[in-house]
């Protein structure tokens, strides 16, 4: 048991969770107090001691599913698998993963005996009735029938998941269910808009549960096949703050959006605190005398006024072409979410033409809405829609260059891939003289800088710093150090 726990903790650390030795010891002690048969309690006990941030929950859950896999019997088992898993058997599986390969065939018999229509019918019934146990059974059959899992095949779990779900045609089933609910509605006008929406949400929730059941079934079989450590490496999910923004999948982008709001709040609090407690200001005579009354008129503790350093101004010039677009959107969203820490924020976007988008952010109280508007309304195409940094920078200088003063920090966001146009780096040189700081944020990995048509080295000569900002964590650190 301790070995299994140690392996689990190692896996968590490699996924990026900071698990200290004390927490490991606490987990070992916590396990003593819960009955080992209760898998749910084990999960919560380990989570309480090892996971200290809600953003890390997903990574923990994935690792838990792998290391403490539920080895319950398959649908058509001869009964040679003992009931309900547990830890000594999971440890067994880790050790002799290859030997278990033959066992997998056990589930095969049950699923294949059903035809595709029967399975679809069973699925429809399970979703219509909301029966959780039936949904699990359907998940197992579906995986047996459609996933096509073979021993030793070096393919990740997402491929099997995709195959299974595609064959189940969940969207079609959802349509059928909603239509059936409409038909069953009272009277001849069917359901109201609100009722229909509620019904649809209910079915969507059930489908989501089925999807998760399918996913965990696939993972369970992969663990049996390959063993825990090998699988953990391949399905390890990065923490939200470590996701590479440029290459994020749709789900990861959704996670990032959710993380952005609490992140920006924490950043705003941290910046505000830094400004307040950086130095002590002049003595506040009145407050000191007031305080001294409780010590008999003797001023024991002097009180100082808060220093009020000037808030910086920010000019953000963002490239919104191609893959850099999502990164630019995130940065703009973040900067505007903490805009109370700056005295003025002005933002500009460009591809080969440049346009100011400050007006979108001023109207909206939610930066996400403004970011959507940028996509549709900003006027950034000049000739052919391929990035032209040189032209964009020279137009910026011409129209707004005089607005840059000595309190301004200029942020340029982009990968500096100029499509072999003229670089016009003199604009940056002039800006560097006028502004307080000029920073370049590059979302590409450092190794790619200067390759192909990237001219970031030429621009870097005039910037105070070129910072690699691939993940939210790097972005947060940069913005935190900005003021």
């Amino acid at each position: 048991m301790l070995d299994l726990l140690s392996g689990f903790v190692t896996e968590l650390r490699q996924a990026g969770l900071p698990v200290s030795l004390t927490e490991h010891l606490d987990a070992a002690e916590a396990v003593h107090h819960i009955p080992l048969e209760d898998r749910a309690s084990l999960k919560y006990a380990l989570a309480a001691t090892l996971v200290k941030s809600s953003a890390h929950w997903r990574a923990f859950e994935t690792a838990f599913e792998i290391y403490f896999a539920n080895r319950g019997p398959g649908p058509a088992d001869g009964g040679d698998d003992p009931e309900g898993d547990r830890t000594p058997e999971a440890a067994d599986a880790t050790g002799s993963g290859a030997g278990r390969g033959g066992r997998r065939g056990q589930g095969g018999g049950g699923g294949e005996s059903m035809s595709a229509e029967e399975l679809a019918e069973l699925l429809y019934r399970a979703l219509a009735s909301g029966d959780g146990a039936l949904a699990d059974v359907v998940a197992r059959y579906a995986v047996t029938r459609y996933a096509g899992m073979e021993p030793g095949r070096p393919v990740g779990g997402t491929y099997y998941l995709y195959r299974t779900l595609r064959n189940l045609d969940l969207d079609g089933v959802l349509e059928r269910l909603i239509q059936a609910a409409r038909d069953a509605g009272p009277g001849d006008h069917g359901l109201t808009g609100l009722e229909e929406r509620l019904v649809a949400d209910e079915y969507r929730a059930r489908i989501e549960q089925l999807r998760r059941a399918v996913e965990s079934e696939i993972r369970r079989r992969l663990v049996l096949d390959r063993g825990a450590e090998a699988l953990a490496r391949s399905v390890r999910k990065p923490l939200p703050e470590d996701i590479d923004v440029m290459h994020a999948t749709r789900d990861e982008l959704a996670t990032l959006h959710r993380t952005l709001h609490p992140l920006s709040r924490k950043l705003a609090v941290r910046l505000a605190r830094k400004r307040r407690h950086g130095r002590k200001g002049p003595l506040d005579f009145r407050a000191t005398v007031r305080r001294s009354l409780s010590t008999g008129g003797v001023p024991v503790e002097p009180r100082f006024r808060h220093p009020r350093p000037a808030k910086p101004e920010i000019f953000v010039i963002a490239d919104i072409s191609g893959s850099v677009a999502s990164f630019a959107r995130f940065t703009l969203h973040l900067v505007y979410a903490i805009s109370s820490q700056f005295s003025k924020v002005r933002s500009f976007v460009f591809v080969d033409g440049i346009d100011e988008v400050t007006r979108f952010f001023e109207g909206a109280d939610d930066p996400a809405v403004a970011v959507h508007r940028i996509n549709t309304e900003a006027d950034v195409i000049w000739v052919d829609g391929h990035s032209d940094y040189g032209h964009a920078l020279s137009v910026f200088n011409q129209r707004w260059g005089d607005d840059v003063n000595s309190r301004t920090s200029v942020l340029v966001l982009g990968d500096a891939r100029n499509n072999y146009h003229a670089s016009e780096a003199w604009v940056l040189e002039q800006l560097a003289r006028q502004a307080r700081h000029v920073y370049w944020l590059n979302p590409e990995p450092r190794d790619y800088w200067g390759s192909g048509d990237s001219i970031v080295d030429e621009y870097a000569a005039h910037c105070e710093a070129v910072v690699e900002c691939r993940t939210l964590r790097q972005l947060e650190r940069f913005v935190g150090d900005l003021t």
């Binding site: 900071p18 200290s20 004390t22 927490e23 606490d26 002690e29 916590a30 003593h32 107090h33 819960i34 209760d38 749910a40 309690s41 919560y44 006990a45 989570a47 309480a48 001691t49 996971v51 200290k52 941030s53 809600s54 929950w57 109201t192 808009g193 609100l194 929406r197 509620l198 949400d201 209910e202 929730a205 609490p262 709040r265 924490k266 609090v269 941290r270 605190r273 409780s294 010590t295 008999g296 109280d365 939610d366 996400a368 809405v369």
Partner: protein, 323 residues
């Protein structure tokens, strides 16, 4: 076997014995909490049980209005303990959290000592007239327990009866001030320079709540068990509404829970929390609404959602006019 080893370990660390466990099992915790009106799920009950067995504090995080403070209150009610509450805010310091010397009383005592000594004293101290009390006696006298103002943390440690300590909104406290809590949380003792170390005779159950406005320090998190209370799922929310809103029909509770669930799937600035759901349910009961339709919901939406942009979005996406 394991419990004895634990007790030996605690004795070796100099901690007081944790006493008999307050809860027998996780289901017992769950039923007990349900009996005092708090519907907990497996995770919550499990962590509370573990916190009692391991004698560790519980750090409860989650969005506002999901029952974090209520959990501590319910546990206090369940175990028959006194609830001691420390509300954290940004200027909190040692004198308001741990203890403070009652300066005024000490000054008065010194001055009274002088006056009484000069006039011979009511007890007629034969050892000498003015200035009869030596400095040593005076020092021991004014730095005694009578002159100590105990604040919540010290009170929780010193109390002889069972106590639940609730440190509310610990994320509002500055990073440096968190250090105050560390000694109390890990070893249940407070060091007062003049009096010595005060140790707890009876370990309190400690709950810290946080709204996640800032990242808590590693040192604090390390000493606690972590519990994240998120918005409840449909089934649990329906049960909470049925239990906490007297006079509500099962069907209305079900509708309320479903609508709130759908609202939470929209991208709102602030999703409705459990307390707002309960307020809405109570309003509907007061208005005598049997079943909610789109217009009714739209009229009362401001109870659930607190931002105008959210209300507009919800009205548009969820409650658009019936065809």
């Amino acid at each position: 076997m394991s419990l004895d080893a634990h007790a030996d370990q605690q004795a070796a660390l100099g901690l007081p014995p944790s006493g008999p466990p307050r809860f027998e099992s996780v289901p017992a915790v769950r039923e007990g909490l349900a009996a005092v009106g708090y519907l907990a799920d497996e995770g919550i009950a499990g962590v509370v049980y573990l916190a009692d067995r391991l004698a560790k504090p519980v750090l409860v995080e989650g969005p506002a209005g999901t029952g974090k403070t209520q959990l501590a209150k319910s546990v206090a009610e369940l175990t028959g303990s006194r609830l001691i509450r420390l509300q954290c805010y940004e200027g909190l310091d040692e004198s308001k959290a741990l203890y403070e010397w009652n300066y005024r009383k000490q000054l008065l005592r010194i001055q009274a000592g002088q006056v009484i000594g000069e006039s011979g004293g009511p007890s007629g101290d034969p050892a000498g007239g003015a200035g009869s009390a030596t400095w040593k006696e005076l020092e021991e006298d004014i730095f005694s327990e009578d002159f100590l103002l105990t604040r919540p943390l010290l009170e929780a440690i010193r109390s002889a009866d069972p106590v639940v300590l609730l440190v509310d909104e610990v994320d509002r406290v500055e990073l440096e001030t968190e250090a105050l809590l560390l000694e109390v949380l890990s070893e249940y003792q407070v060091s007062i320079p003049e009096l010595g170390t005060v140790r707890a005779t009876r370990l309190p159950m400690v709950f810290l709540t946080s709204n996640n406005t800032r990242e808590l320090s590693e040192a604090l998190k390390r000493r606690c068990l972590y519990l994240h209370i998120d918005y409840p799922d449909l089934e649990r929310e329906r049960r909470i509404v049925s239990a906490r809103v007297p006079g509500i029909s099962g069907e209305l509770a079900d509708q309320v829970a479903r609508i709130v669930r759908s609202l939470r799937t929209l991208e709102l600035r602030k999703a409705p929390s459990v307390s707002e759901t309960l307020d809405w349910a109570r309003t509907l009961v007061v208005l005598g609404v049997e079943s909610i339709d789109a217009t009714g919901a739209r009229d009362t939406l401001h109870i659930l959602l607190k931002y105008q942009s959210d209300i507009e979005r919800a009205a548009k996406e969820l409650l658009s006019a019936e065809t």
